[in-house]
């Protein structure tokens, strides 16, 4: 299963690059907008672009944040019964996969709805469906990242420190 773990490592790195690029773009866009506004030439629709860019920043950072185990968790009880740690981890991964699968499926449905109704931003009329699809895709990748946690546990490569 090494190929699967390697694949997830690479995929989550790539999604992280998209998130990082979006973060830098937001910063530059907003700063230029502030400067240009005082010169009488604001960037039209900067608000819309920053809002949608924010979704890319956080959405695409989700898989790598899970891969790196940066989310806050409480290990007080699990540390006291290390022999049950794997069972707890497998169960919580399964529940989390269900949660993100529901989100992935429904964000895709939401995107399809936006596509049909032509839902868009107020100033630039940017379509919202790509954002819903992108977030759905990130949740879908997140399911596989969580699955790779299970693979690590089952094949003995989990981080036990």
């Amino acid at each position: 299963m090494r190929w699967f773990l390697h694949l997830m490592d690479v995929v989550s790195r790539y999604t992280d690059v998209i998130a990082g690029a979006a973060l830098v773009s937001i910063m530059l866009l907003t700063s230029f907008d502030v400067v240009l506004r005082y010169l009488g030439r604001p960037i039209l629709g900067a608000y819309d672009m920053v809002t949608l860019g924010g979704a890319f920043v956080i959405g695409f950072a989700v898989p790598r944040t899970s891969w790196d185990k940066t989310h806050v968790s409480v290990d007080i009880l699990v540390e006291r019964i290390p022999e049950r740690k794997d069972i707890f981890d497998l169960s919580t991964r399964a529940v989390a996969i269900f949660f993100f699968a529901v989100l992935a499926w429904n964000l895709t449905k939401m995107g399809t709805g936006f596509l049909k109704t032509g839902e868009s931003t107020l100033t630039l009329a940017l379509p919202l469906y790509p954002i819903a699809f992108a977030l759905g895709f990130c949740c879908f990748i997140q399911c596989f990242v969580l699955l790779s946690d299970m693979v690590k546990i089952v094949f003995g490569e989990a981080d036990h420190e």
């Binding site: 924010g54 979704a55 920043v57 806050v72 968790s73 529901v102 429904n106 449905k109 939401m110």
Partner: protein, 433 residues
């Protein structure tokens, strides 16, 4: 089953789920989803969690979080803190406890451009503690002051904790920033007083360091002044209505980035590291916000917040006592899970009660942030103490002993803010009425 019982069972299951080592944000989302599905409908629950996630991630207001975190990370990786500390040290190092005082000044100024308490603590643990070791400072004082001073990050603007509180409770972030200003400075002064008093009682705790000439001191001033200039630009623009918080975060980040790049303090590796670290922190925080919103919707349909608010107001005890009790719940809850996560979990329940008691929402925000600060340095889950321990390898017992005297100043500030709420409200009322 009636909705209140479902709500109480939901809270109990949530606490149980936390113990399984699951990510706190995932647990909040899952319980919120299942609870809402039980009370309203599975279809309604699916719709609400999707909507909550979409609206949190694609929110203009919340882009402020990654931007302020990025600004702090750039400053951290560019070594700004070290130069700040060196500058303060040249002015204060020669007096007893001077290096500890320089730490307080360094943290206070560094905080002006860094929104993260953990990053501030990590920076000064690696910069200030070895220097204090070199001059024979007691480990209790050196590690204790770094752990405690790092908490200032929650109170002094631009604080991520205040931003999150503002987002959850729909309060003005500009007002919250201004409200945290005087209490933050007052707390720095109280920390300094404790250091001076401690060194007077036991001079061996903080011996004198080197004395520098005025020429050397003046030469170190730019390192102290430019973060203050960026801070004034950001907060000034914010309160003057020139910037939104997101714009203030962007302009501040770009200013710090340009300064760090042009002065050769930050290379490509440092920039990459800053971006990656800020993505990790921001994603963790935004996931917590999204799932606490889901949980908040579940709590709302259980009617627990409204009932709790009504019940609290009816209690035949003074409102200050009730407020103190609520703060104690935050402290205990924050000791059980992460302090920031508990704040997001508990605020939708307690905030309506606090407002119904007649407290100003901005004042309440500062009091809750102060509670989070205390939670960062008291056992069992003391984030800042963990950070200091990891970097300095000093045992927990010694760091906690060093933290104790400074806890007096935190508690004293809480009491002062109860008696004189204008310490919090004066600036926002004056400048953003």
């Amino acid at each position: 089953m009636n909705e209140i019982i479902i709500g109480i069972v939901g809270i109990f299951l949530l606490m149980l789920l936390f113990l399984t080592n699951i990510e706190i944000s995932f647990a909040m989302g899952i319980i919120g989803y299942l609870g809402y599905a039980m009370i309203v409908s599975p279809q309604g629950a699916t719709t609400i969690i999707t909507k909550d996630l979409f609206e949190t991630f694609a929110s203009y207001g919340l882009t402020v979080v990654p931007l302020f975190v990025l600004m702090g990370q750039i400053a951290f990786n560019a070594g700004v803190a070290k130069r700040l500390y060196d500058g303060s040290y040249k002015f204060l190092g020669h007096i007893p406890g001077g290096l500890a005082l320089a730490t307080v000044v360094g943290v206070t100024v560094f905080k002006a451009i860094c929104g993260s308490a953990a990053a501030t603590t990590a920076t000064f643990a690696s910069v200030a503690v070895p220097e204090m070791d070199r001059f024979g400072y007691s480990k209790k004082l050196s590690t204790g002051i770094v752990a405690v001073a790092g908490t200032l990050g929650n109170l002094l603007p631009p604080s991520v904790t205040l931003i999150i509180f503002g987002m959850i409770t729909e309060q003005s972030i500009g007002k919250l920033f201004l409200a945290g200003f005087f209490p933050g400075l007052l707390l720095s002064a109280l920390f300094a007083l404790i250091i001076v008093g401690w060194c007077k009682v036991d001079p061996l705790v903080g011996p004198k360091g080197n004395r520098y000439t005025w020429k050397e001191r003046i030469a170190s001033l730019p390192a102290i002044i430019w973060p203050i200039v960026i801070f004034v630009l950001m907060v000034g623009g914010l309160m003057g209505g020139m910037f939104t918080p997101t714009e203030a975060g962007s302009v501040g980040t770009l200013a710090v980035l340009l300064f760090a790049l042009f002065s050769g303090q930050l290379g490509f590796t440092g920039l990459k590291k800053s971006i990656v670290e800020s993505l990790r922190t921001s994603c963790m925080v935004l996931m917590l916000i999204a799932t606490s919103t889901i949980l908040g919707h579940f709590f709302a349909v259980t009617k627990i917040p409204a009932i709790a608010a009504h019940w609290v107001v009816q209690l035949p005890i003074h409102r200050h006592f009730i407020m103190a009790l609520i703060m104690l719940i935050y402290l205990l809850g924050g000791s059980f899970i992460d302090d920031l996560a508990f704040m997001m979990l508990a605020t939708p329940i307690f905030f309506p009660a606090i407002v119904k008691l007649g407290y100003d929402p901005i004042w309440a925000g500062i009091m809750i942030c102060l509670t989070v600060m205390i939670g960062c340095v008291v056992p069992p889950v003391a984030m800042n103490v963990f950070v200091v321990k990891n970097i300095t390898k000093v045992p927990f017992g010694i760091i906690y002993k060093g933290v104790c005297p400074f806890l007096i100043s935190l508690i004293l500030l809480v009491v002062l803010l109860f008696i004189f709420p204008d310490i919090v409200l004066y600036l926002p009322n004056l400048l953003m009425k």
